[in-house]
Amino acid sequence: MDSNQVRILLEKYWQGETSVVEESRLKAYFRSDDVAEELEQYRALFQFFDAEALIKFHPESKTPIVKSTTIRILSSAWVRGAAAAVVLALGIYFYMIPGQENIDMRDVTYIDTYESPELAYEEAKKALFYLSGKMNKGVSTAANSLDKMRTLDEIVNAN
């Protein structure tokens, strides 16, 4: 194809009036070694199209869905807030409760943190409820991801 033909075709191309076949001819021209000097500037565009068409889907990670879910959970502001609250609560527990500073570690098994067993029981129950609530949330998120993985497995194994 001589450069005059290419120029005409290229003009049609910019106007969005070329057919798929004409566009293939343009791509072939810009792949060749004898591109006219004044058209050289457009070579990179058609090379770019060629190169992009070769990109393949091959996920490097084996479990991208689970991985991305984990990232999403850890990055949510809510969880960061909850983590900060737990750290604060622990800090208060260890440093603010009176009478804790001089614990003799040899006597530790004989010291109660609460005055009455009922109160201790209530507090322990509250803490365990809180923990189990978090666990249930985690389990349901994991189950969701597993469901997606199972469907993918089904597809992949069927091959």
């Binding site: 566009e23 457009y42 992009e52 889907f57 869905i65 469907t151 993918l152 597809i155």
Partner: protein, 169 residues
């Protein structure tokens, strides 16, 4: 039967779907997630396949919609760490960077400047070679809108290239 259809008509689209998603979301991990999600969704809708006039166009449409959602959600989130920030980059060392690569990366940057619709049309036409009618079906817009947007996108790229050239590109 549905598995055969899936294997012969949907699975081979993976690369196209991935490239399309990548053009919209702009990073490999999100594009991979989108493709897997599309596969799962299409598989779960296997009872509806008979009603789909063009299964490939439908897969591309789902890919576009999920990619746009993904991109939007990402924008709404507080600053993320860049993807693969803790891995060595596969980039070439400075002495390996050729002039050609530089031009290619400039073209990529120009593409990124296009509005999503125009970028998607360039992707579907100039990279994937779809007919105007198919592009209209995938993007769910009238045929003349495809042509107008394609024309605008190509002119934009042309002007950018000419401008870059005059600045010593």
């Amino acid at each position: 039967m549905s598995l055969q259809t899936f294997n012969s008509q949907v699975l081979p689209l993976r690369d196209k779907l991935y490239r399309f998603s990548l053009r919209i979301v702009g990073n490999t991990q999100d594009a991979e997630d989108v493709v897997q999600e599309v596969m799962v969704r299409v598989w779960k809708k296997k009872e509806d396949w008979k009603q789909w006039s063009n299964i490939e166009a439908m897969c591309m449409t789902i890919t576009r919609n999920l990619s746009i959602d993904k991109k939007r959600n990402k924008h709404n989130r507080v600053a993320d760490m860049p993807d693969h920030y803790d891995e060595p980059s596969g980039d070439a060392t400075p002495d390996e960077v050729t002039a050609s690569n530089d031009m290619m990366s400039q073209i990529r940057a120009m593409m990124d400047e296009l509005p999503e619709k125009q970028r998607s049309i360039i992707q579907l036409r100039d990279i994937e070679g779809y007919a105007y009618k198919e592009i209209a079906e995938i993007l769910e817009i009238p045929l003349n809108q495809v042509k107008i947007n394609l024309h605008r996108a190509r002119l934009f790229l042309k002007e950018k290239i000419v401008k870059a050239k005059s600045y010593g590109f």
